[in-house]
């Protein structure tokens, strides 16, 4: 499998150096342990918002570090949760007395590594709270839901609150609300290739797609055949809207996210169908985001996230943000 890399074991470090050089005004990249932090951190009296997870999902999370979003991010090895050392180092570089909020995707590894870091912080008396993102409705069982696209929204909302001077409790509250109001689901047209493995992690036939895939190269829940986007979107949106109990008149934010190898023109087509689908049900798309925001290496396909908006979440979403991957209002 061909990739634009130097070697499997330098993928993450080379990319981190690339990020550092591309956005010197926004982020500082620290190595061993690896983390990415706002150039202006630590910010006195501002809650630090920290996330992290395996690499291979760029721009998540490292591309969301900056004013109005994450204070720091901890990139693990490819698809591997970061270690407590990384998390603690990022925390010490970010946290003020206002405390730190961890945004954790619902994977066993992510949860355990952040938990260990939190145990240390509690011993040290650093105020810490966490929010677990579990938005992927592919699995009907709530505690088996993966954290996917909603993570970006939760990071944005929590970061906006922190930037406005909200307390740790307040940041955690809005983050949890954003999480509870969001659902995601994905579809893959092809698997991704983990560099160390050097071949796709599963195989899809020429006409096959997989519904309910995750973002770690894992297969999904249901294999079916390629169909016009309108049909695929119908299936995906139905799952989201049912689970979130969205109703006519509800305002929503829609994120159509490319998984890495899907072209922008396709993503706009998917978004069009999402917009039509919602319009037909009088669900209002008040805000939207279309592009590669959380990838799975070179997987082809997309995820759709819908979030129910209210005035508070809308205001936090609209607040200024200046990160490598998300930027507005500044």
């Amino acid at each position: 499998m061909k990739m634009l890399i130097n070697a499997a074991d330098t993928v993450v470090s080379d990319a981190l150096e690339g990020l550092a050089q591309a956005h010197p005004g926004i982020v500082r990249v620290m190595r061993n342990p690896d983390y990415v932090v706002r150039t202006d951190a630590p910010l006195q009296q501002q809650v630090a918002i920290i996330s992290g997870g395996g690499s291979g999902h760029e721009p998540m999370h490292i591309g969301y570090v900056g004013r109005g979003m994450l204070t720091a991010a901890c990139p693990g090895a490819i698809f591997t949760s970061p270690t407590p050392d990384q998390i603690l180092a990022a925390t010490y570089a970010s946290a003020s007395r206002a405390g730190v909020l961890y945004i954790i995707k619902n994977y066993a590894g992510d949860r355990m590594n952040f938990e260990i870091a939190m145990e240390t912080l509690l011993l040290e008396g650093v105020p810490v709270a966490s929010v677990i993102v579990a938005d992927d409705v592919a699995n009907p069982m709530q505690d088996l839901r993966r954290g996917t696209g909603a993570t970006i929204i939760v990071e944005k909302v929590a970061g906006a609150a922190a930037e406005m001077g909200a307390s740790l409790e307040e940041c955690a509250r809005v983050a949890r609300r954003a999480e509870r109001q969001s659902r995601s689901i994905g579809v893959a047209l092809s698997a991704c290739t983990v560099p160390a493995l050097a071949r796709p992690s599963f195989h899809l036939g020429d006409n096959e797609i997989e519904i309910g895939i995750g973002i770690h190269g894992e297969a999904g829940r249901q294999r079916t055949t390629i169909a016009p986007v309108a049909q695929i979107v119908d299936q995906l949106c139905s799952a989201l809207v049912d689970d979130l109990d969205l109703r006519a008149g509800d305002r929503t934010l829609a994120l159509v996210n490319g998984l890495g190898a899907t072209s922008p023109i396709e993503l706009y087509i998917v978004f069009y169908e999402v917009a039509r689908w919602c319009a037909a049900r009088h669900i209002v798309l008040a805000r939207s985001l279309v592009g590669n925001y959380m990838t799975s290496l070179d997987m082809a396909g997309c995820t759709i996230t819908l979030m129910r908006l209210d005035d508070e979440l809308l205001q936090l979403w609209d607040a200024p943000v200046c990160t490598p991957a998300l930027r507005w209002g500044v």
């Binding site: 395996g54 698809f79 591997t80 270690t83 297969a219």
Partner: protein, 221 residues
Amino acid sequence: MQITVDHVIRFLERAAALIREHATELTELDTVIGDADHGTNLNRGFSAVVVKLDALQDGDIGTILDVTGKTLLATVGGAAGPLYGTAFRRAGALLAGRHAIEGADIAAALEVALEGIIERGRVQRGEKTMLDAIAPGVETFRSAIAEGKSLEEAARCALAAVEEGMRATIPMQATKGRAAFLGPRSIGHQDPGATSAYYIACAMVGLNVDPPSDQNEAQLS
């Protein structure tokens, strides 16, 4: 017989060697029901442990195990890092200051390591994880020692139980870890974590004999 610092160091070196040797196999297993990183991650972690061992020749067993746990925690990441890291650190805490231990100590250390995994992973047996290989091994070891079996004999019985537990993960449906996302699709595949646990257990067997020859290693694979 007694287990000394030397034995423990040799165990860790052999564990690292076995993990390196089987890294691809572990990653392949993790490709089927996980995210294709288990071998890569553990290999990175145990290689880092081996580097640390040099400086620990004069340490006690507890310290060595604690450093091992800390190193795995700091370098493995994913689910396996916290789980193995916690297990080694708990065993290290129990054996703090000790330069020589025997069967009952090892049984107790394995017990607290096991508890560490259960607590950290919030996991029970039957969820298709490393626990399904480790738990029967620990139980078998403890009973064997309680029955007065030799250390070597107890370790061999335990290894057999670990292997059986590892194979028993094949028909299970995962309800913990990444494989759980697959639901029924996780059935029919051996758990990567249970498999790495088996190789680590292999490294424990024969601690009182010389490091295994190439032939021994070949048999393990």
